[in-house]
Structure formats: C-alpha cells, structure tokens
Symmetry: C2
C-alpha cells in the first residue's frame, strides 16, 4: 500500500472512511517509513527493531539488490535475532500473527519458534496458481501445521479478482481479540494480511464498489475490516488499553499500475526503489483516551520504532546486547514531542540515501537496469526524472544528490551543489552517515542461497491432508536478484 | 494554487488547519475544475457562468493557445456579457471585489462598470518591478481610481519575499463584511487575492514559517486569512446565512517549482495544460447549518457553477438569452445529489479534452512547444509521459487518448484502443462532444490584439497622485501567445 492510498492522505476517491476516522480519533504520521522498499526485509525489521543489513534480511549476491523470501529461499530469520513477540512473552503477552509471515518458511523459521503463540496465514506471497509439480502452491497454516493451500483450498479467482481471504483474516482477528478479552490476558496481534499485494483480490461484497477498480476494492475491504476491528475493541471495552498502529511494509507497486498499483501520492516512484514512493507509508496511531484525537506528527518514524514502542508500552526494555534502530515513539504520540533522528534508505547491502529533517541525500540512485526496463519493468511509470531515476547504478557518494522534501516532496529538483544550502545540509548529513557507517556491523546475509528442494512441497500437516508433494533433489544456487 | 496544496487534499506538510477545518465543517469537492488552465479566462468564466470560448476570453491568433490579460491587452470583458454581480444587484446585493480583476484594464472594462459596487485591488498580475518608462508598474485601485502602484507604493520585496498585500486584502474583507452586517444588506464578496501567484510573497509574520518554503508561507497566510474571515462571519452571527466557497483559478504552476510552484497532488502537469494538474482544483463549500459537516462530493464541478449556484441562492434565474455552462450545485451541496454533466478542457479555441464520469478523453495533447521546452519552460517537470505530454500539438480526434481517472488519476496509462471499455466509454463521450460542438457558438475573441499604448500609464486618479506616465503612440499588434 502507498502513502497516497488513504482518503486522509489525499487519495482522490476518498474511499477509506474507517481509516480516516481512525486518523481523526488518533494521530496521523506524515513522515513515516518502512525499513526497506519491499516486504520481507521490512517485516523482519519491524519484528526485530533492526535494519535488514543488521538482522540479515539482505543479499550480497550483487550490489544494492532487493531480496526477499520466495519459495526457494534457503534462509530466514536467525535464532540469534530477538523478535518482538519473544520479548513480549516476558510480560505475559499472548502473541498471534494473522497473515503473511515472510521471514522464512523452513521449519526452523516457523513463527511459533520465534515468539508467536498462534498463527493463521501463509509463509510466502500468494503468487500462483501453480501446478503442484514444477511449483507447489503456497500453504496456509494454522499454528504448527498447514491446513490447505492457496488456489487449491483457499480460492483466489484471478479472472474476477474474488477471494475471501481478508474476511477470513478479519474473523480470525475478531475471534482472537474476543478470546483474549475473555481470558483477561494481554495480547499482541500482528495483523499482517496479504492484501493489497498483487495478485490483487477482494471479497465478493467489495468487488466493483470502488472508483479505483480492483485495487480500490481491496483497499475498501481493508478499510472496512479495520473499522470492524476498532469497533470490536470499543464494544469489548478494551479500546482504552489497546494500542493500535496502522502502516504498510512498502510503497505501492507502480509496476502493477494502474489496475493493481495503488498510489504514492505526490512522491516519486514506488516499491523496489529508495525514492519516497518506495518507502514512505501511511501511518496512524490510535489509542482512545491516550493518543490525542486529530493529532498530526511530522516525526520521522520507521516500522522499526513499533518494536521499541511496543516494548515500552509493555514496560520492557529493548535488548542492550545489540544495535536497535527503532526508537520509542511514546513521547511523540503522547506528548507531541519531536525526536531528531535520521532515516536510512537501504537497497540490499547499500545505503542508498539518508534523510534528516527535511533534507534527503541520495548516495546512490537506481530504479532498475536498462535490461529490466527494456522488458517493460518500470518502477517509476510516467515519473522518470533525468539524472535521478537512473537505470544504471549511479554513485553519488562524493557529491550526493540533495533534495528538500518540504519544497520538493516529489524529488524532482536536486539542490545546486554550489549553494550554501547544499553545503550546510550536507555537512550535517555527512556526519550522520559517517557515524552510521563507522559503527555498522552487518549481519550474516540470509538471502543469498536458493534451492528448489526447500519449497513448500511437504509442510508439516500435509500427511493428514494427503497433500504432501514430492521433494526434488537439493540443488542450492545463488539466488538471482535482478532489482 | 493546486489540488494538492491543502492538508485536506493530502499536502504532506499539512499546514492549512483553517481550510482543513472549513472542509471538516463543510463539503469537500474532489472533482472540481476551473474553466481554463490559466487565470483570466477562468475568472471571466466564473463571473459569467460561461466557457471562455463563449464569453470571448480566448485567442484565435494561433491554434490552442492560452491567452490572458497582460498590460498590453486591448480586449476585456464585453458589455454584452452579464456578470454575476450585475445580476445579484437585482436582488439587492452589494458587490465587492477585493484583489485581482483580470478581465481587462481599459476604462470600459472597469469592474464598477460590470456590476461591482466596490473594488480594492489591481487589474493585472503583480509582475514587476518595472521602470515606469518602458513599462508601468501595475496600479492598485480603490473603486474608480488608482491609489498607488505595486512596487512603488505597495511594496513587494522579491529578495526576501515579503509583502503585506494579503493582510491588506484580509482587512478590507473583514471591514466590508462588518459594514454590510451593520447595514443589514446582503452582499457578494469576491475575495480574489493575488497570492499564491508568482512572484510569491507573504507577510513578515509568515515568512519562514512553512516546511515548504516561501510558497508554503503564502499558503499559510491565505489559510490564516480564511480562518479569520470565517470566524468573523461567525462572530457577527451571520455564518448561517452566508455561503462561502473556496477554490482556485488554475492548477499550481509547476514551471515555478520547487521554490514558487505548489502541488497538484497525484495529478499530471500543472498550470497552462489541460491535464488534471492544470485544471483540477481544491474546492470547499461552507455554510454552517445548511451544508452537512464533513461532506465529501464527487460531483464534477466547475467554477462556472458558482455563477449559477449564487444566483440560485439569491432566488434568481440565470439569463435565458444565452448559453450558460454552470449548473446549480445546491442539490449537490444540500441534498447530496450527483448531477451527470461533462467537463470540457479548453486551450484557447480548441477543446482539448472532455470528462464524463471517471473517463477523460484527450482530443488534442500538448504541454508546450519543443522551442519553449528547449528554453527550459517545463509545465510537467519530472512527469513527461511519452505520447501524453507531447511537445507538438498532437491531434487525436479520430482516436482519442482515454484515461480512467479513478484507477489512473495521474493520466499515465491510456486505455487500449482495442478494449471493450474503450469502445463503451468513447461511445458516450463522442455523443457529448458531438452535441457540444453542434451547439457551440463561439464568442468574438477578445484576446487577439495587444498595444503598448493601452498599458497602465495613466489610470484614473493618477493626476491627484502625480503618478501619470507618458502614454506611447498606439501600435496595435497581434498578441504573441507561445503556450
């Protein structure tokens, strides 16, 4: 989902009354970021509070490449990483993930081995349908075992765009919340639904209801679901002690536009890029009676902050034996403070850009290769800015491309290298980058090796269902990451 | 000002609390248009309720050129046109214009000859400073006579961006409203301030207060002023019988970006173009106790509707001896109705595009000439879409370029000519265009002739001030309209 996909963020169809209401009752974050321009690394960062380059969710197979966890990925979240639910357990929390895990699908990476108590959802993206011979369809798990597969048992009709999945995930959330309220146990619910990811789908009742086509239908269904979750919390009388945060793991994928693309509002490019459209996200904090209604914050925030902030809410300290990149946002949310902190924009193993205050400096620019672009893969359709959205990896480390995101949120007008403003801003940014680089200890990269044998052929539980597939011979290879 | 310049429309700096509040208390129009992608024709259309091609505010000097009323224009608003204030007089209204008139500056075009009772402001844009020898500075009038000139008597400091003009225009508005309330006379106030037009300025108290630079400072000052006007109406107890509408006369001029440019949000290009960024405008209706608070309308609206709607509010009928393009929006505003009507996008004498529902068909495309573009004039910076923002005038009358503005508000993905959707949508649009063309009687073009002798050398009142300048010999020529 992109920054510009909600009415509250200026989407012209204005079809998200529930999220807009959530913003009106809570706090809107206008400068909130993911940790990476795509899914797996962002989700790993959210749950560990650490940049992907630290927690291992990146590749060194090639320079500055986006990597994630497709079916044939060998790696995943390492045992040495401490995840938010593992820590929350110490404070008596019951933790549930509903939806996409995306932190590795081999047995050792299972979410219930990393702090979650319950799981309903899938380990990978809902790509498909596959033939279950060359490629298996993605399994859907309940807790330890699979209970079916996408397309086989959990239908997604690519022709009509119909799928009931968001409704299943919604009901699961409502049930979990009811159960926790009844048992009076504190809970952490990570509602990590698949929508609006391509292939985009919505339930029958939402199909055709948007001015924006199928993508808009999916947004409307999410909006409706979140409204139902918030109302459920209120009806159970626990909204005043439940902190809710809404955000997304990367910008809208403009490569899928206009039919399945979404909107990054006035920002440049989309998913896969380190321009604002790739990493700036809609974000809303909601906690009636605590978060001031109608608040608007310009705090530079990051999904990693949700790790630290959640620990803080539970009265816990973040681990002190490792570098944590997330900050505690409670002073921002509860007292309206502004904390001076930078945002780092990584693509794989490379820090592409950094933001502090309103200035953003690009040390490297790249949208994608000429080869990929020539094949029709365009992450910046209709927005290719000469010298900015480059199709070769351009190094600017000696003279970074600098933008003022207040005057120029769309990153279209680099500041003159000769200007005083450039000198002044770069002095500050250079210091921040220097310090970051000097102290950075990259983690072991986990997204380098792929192997057809590790795919979801025979997930636990497949025997009971008679749905085990034949595992091919192991043939580990370097994964190919074209972007 | 552009669609994306207000917080309520998604501007990332969120610096318009008063306008956002106005929207929260009133109705937000998301699909509201000007009648033309630049100033004079849009303002003439607003006041006459008629397309510029009907009221004469266009040129035939060349095909599809934008024309306005610079200092050397010979033409202006014709006596045969009926302006909103002329008609409102019949219902006892006192009419005042504060700010830029822009409908011609020769004596016969004076606003007090066209229905206004009072005027404080200038006839042309605040360009300058001029030397008062080759070119006179633009006069500022109070009613019939000039009381000084921009830069000479009404300071605009181009270096610091400081000018007190919006404050003067605000005070004038507050005073007029007080006076009318005291005398119990109904009034029409056309608050047509110069800001945010380039050269952009703001008062000292607003300079440097925006995240967006000087342009943002100007927006903040407008926002603050409108807040003061609305509060003034409330304090005088007349808000419940005063209808207020906020909009702009063209999209943000991206040619002046990023320092003086503004934002058109997710839309394509800016002022001077018939893409959405050139003509789609922020628009808010406010009338406490009548307009439902927090309303959002997808009605296709146009500044020309303000003519018809205002007449309706005053209990008057629009003239029936001429074609009126504006519709009465009261059923939309008061009862939430949606009226099916098209939007025509003109550039000079050519209908470039038409919108009905969510479909927009371009019959001609042009951003500007290669020659102008080569000189650095770019109306679509960082948004040049191949085959769409063309630098030659491209005719598509036989196979229009079609966009679905719901899925693709940025006009980046033309629909396939071969698709059923294209056929279906074009069938409807073709009928609309055919009917429009069949019944169109263009007015006599008023913006063809320019003459240095008609400039503001010796406006009425200059004698008293000792500010009359020598009028050069008349030398009428065809005006040159490069865009």
């Amino acid at each position: 989902m992109g920054w510009g996909d909600l009415g509250a963020f200026g989407e012209p169809s204005k079809e998200t009354p529930n999220l807009d209401q959530m913003a009106a009752e809570g706090m809107l974050f206008l400068d909130f970021y993911t940790a990476n321009p795509l899914c797996s690394p962002s989700r790993a960062a959210l749950l560990t509070g650490r940049l992907p380059v630290r927690n291992g969710f990146y590749t060194t197979n090639a320079h500055a490449r986006n990597a994630y966890t497709p079916q044939d990925i060998v790696g995943g979240i390492q045992d040495s990483e401490l995840l938010l639910p593992e820590l929350l357990k110490k404070a008596g929390y019951i933790n549930k993930i509903i939806g996409k895990w995306h932190l590795g699908h081999r047995p050792q990476f299972h979410p219930l081995k990393h702090g979650f108590d319950e799981w309903f959802g899938s380990p990978n993206c809902h790509f498909g349908p596959y033939d279950n011979r060359e490629l298996p369809n993605i399994p859907v798990y309940r807790d330890w075992e699979m209970i079916g597969r996408y397309y086989d048992d959990f239908k997604i009709d690519l022709k009509t765009g119909e799928a009931n999945l968001t409704q299943l995930y919604l009901q699961e959330a409502l049930d979990f919340i009811s159960k926790q309220q009844a048992s009076q146990q504190p809970f952490f619910l990570y509602w990590a639904i698949d929508a609006t990811h391509a292939p985009v789908y919505a339930s029958k009742q939402f199909l055709g209801t948007s001015q924006r086509g199928l993508y808009g239908d999916a947004v409307r269904e999410i909006d409706d679901s979140i409204g139902k979750i918030l109302r459920h919390l209120q009806q159970l009388g626990i909204s005043e002690n439940t902190f809710v945060f809404f955000t997304s793991d990367n910008g809208a994928a403009l490569i899928s536009a206009p039919k399945q693309g979404g909107s990054n509002g006035p920002f440049l490019c989309g998913k896969q890029t380190t321009f604002e459209g790739g990493m700036r996200e809609p974000a809303i904090a909601w906690w009636p009676g605590h978060v001031p209604a109608g608040g608007v914050s310009h705090q530079l925030g990051n999904v990693m902050d949700l790790f630290t902030t959640s620990l803080s809410l539970a009265g816990l300290q973040p681990p002190c034996d490792r570098q944590i990149d997330g900050i505690d946002l409670l002073p921002v949310i509860l007292q309206g403070k502004l904390i001076d902190r930078p945002i780092f924009y990584y693509r794989g193993n490379e820090m592409m850009a950094v933001r502090a205050g309103l200035y953003k400096a690009h040390y490297w620019t790249w949208s994608n290769s000429w080869e990929e672009y020539g094949k029709g893969t365009d992450f910046c359709p209709g927005q290719n800015v000469s010298g900015v959205t480059t199709h070769t990896q351009e190094e600017h480390t000696h003279l970074p491309l600098l933008f003022h995101l207040g005057r120029d949120p769309g990153e279209k007008f680099p500041l003159s290298f000769a200007s005083e403003e450039y000198q002044r801003a770069m002095e500050r940014l250079s210091g921040i980058v220097q310090q970051h680089r000097d102290t950075l200890v990259p983690g072991e990269p986990q997204l380098n090796v792929c192997d057809k044998a590790v795919m979801n052929w025979s997930p636990p539980g497949c025997e009971k269902l008679g749905k085990c597939l034949k595992v091919p011979e192991s043939d580990p290879k370097k994964c190919s990451w074209p972007h």
